[in-house]
C-alpha cells in the first residue's frame, strides 16, 4: 500500500478483555516496529520484526502483550486481560530494511480501557 495502515483507529474496551491491533506495512518493507505513546509522552519501544522474526521482545511491558507477523507483511499486537494503564496510542512503523532507513509510521490505534 501507499502507507502504513493500522486498524482499528480507535478501540474502547472493558478492563479484562483481550484486544488485537493490526498493522499493514508498506509493501516490500521487511522491518516492522511497534511503539506505544501515552498522552503527552514520548514513544515507548515495544517490539520489532525483521521479516517474520522478532529478535528483541524486551520492550513488551508484560507477558500480557504478544505480537506476531506473518508472511513478512501484516503484524498483529495482542493485549490480553487489558488494564487501564494499557490505554495509549499504539503506533506501527515500517522501513525498507532494518538498518539505515527512516521509519514510516501509521496513524496509530487509540486504545482506551474503561
Amino acid at each position: 500500500g501507499a502507507g502504513v495502515s493500522q486498524s482499528p483507529s480507535n478501540k474502547v474496551t472493558e478492563k479484562g478483555k483481550d484486544v488485537e491491533l493490526r498493522c499493514d506495512p508498506i509493501s516490500g518493507h521487511t522491518a516492522l516496529y511497534w511503539y506505544r505513546q501515552s498522552l503527552g509522552q514520548g514513544l515507548e519501544f515495544l517490539i520489532y520484526f525483521q521479516g517474520n522474526s522478532a529478535p528483541d521482545k524486551s520492550g513488551l511491558p508484560s507477558d500480557r502483550f504478544s505480537a506476531e507477523r506473518t508472511g513478512g507483511s501484516v503484524s498483529t499486537l495482542t493485549i490480553q486481560r487489558t488494564q487501564q494503564e494499557d490505554s495509549a496510542v499504539y503506533l506501527c512503523a515500517s522501513s525498507p530494511a532494518l538498518l539505515g532507513y527512516g521509519y514510516t509510521f501509521g496513524s496509530g490505534t487509540r486504545l482506551t480501557v474503561v
Binding site: A31, Y33, Y35, Q41, G42, L43, E44, F45, Y48, Q50, P55, D56, G59, L91, L98, L99, G100, Y101, G102, Y103, T104, F105, G106, S107, G108
Partner: protein
C-alpha cells in the same frame, strides 16, 4: 537507555533559527529525527549514521558527533509549519533495530 533532548520547549518568531540537541550515554550506530504534529503520527526528517555525512535539506539540517554521542537538529529561518514536537531516536551499536526516543522538544513558531 533513553536519550536526553534539550531544550524541552522553544518558542520562535517566523524567520528565527533554532537548535535542538540530543545526547546519549551509549555508543550509537544511528540517530533519527522526527517531527510530530498534534494528533498525527511522527514524520521522518532524517537519519544520521555512524561514519556518515551531515545530513540536511533546505532549511533543516542535522549533525552527529560520534565521539560525544550527540546530535543536533538545526532549523533555519523557521516557518509556521515547523511547529510540532521533535523527537530524536537513537540506535545503539549493540541493539540494531531498537530505536529509543527522547522525551521530545516542543517547538512553537509564531507569526
Amino acid at each position: 537507555q533513553q536519550p536526553v533532548q534539550s531544550p524541552q520547549a522553544v518558542i520562535l518568531r517566523e524567520g528565527e533559527d533554532a537548535v535542538i540537541n540530543c545526547s546519549s550515554s551509549k555508543a550509537l550506530y544511528s540517530v533519527h529525527w522526527y517531527r510530530q504534529k498534534h494528533g498525527e503520527a511522527p514524520v521522518f526528517l532524517m537519519i544520521l549514521l555512524k561514519g556518515g555525512e551531515q545530513k540536511g535539506h533546505e532549511k533543516i539540517s542535522a549533525s552527529f558527533n560520534e565521539k560525544k554521542q550527540q546530535s543536533s537538529l538545526y532549523l533555519t529561518a523557521s516557518q509556521l509549519s515547523y511547529s510540532g514536537t521533535y523527537f530524536c531516536g537513537t540506535e545503539e551499536g549493540t541493539s540494531y533495530g531498537k530505536l529509543t526516543f527522547g522525551q521530545g522538544t516542543i517547538l512553537t513558531v509564531h507569526p
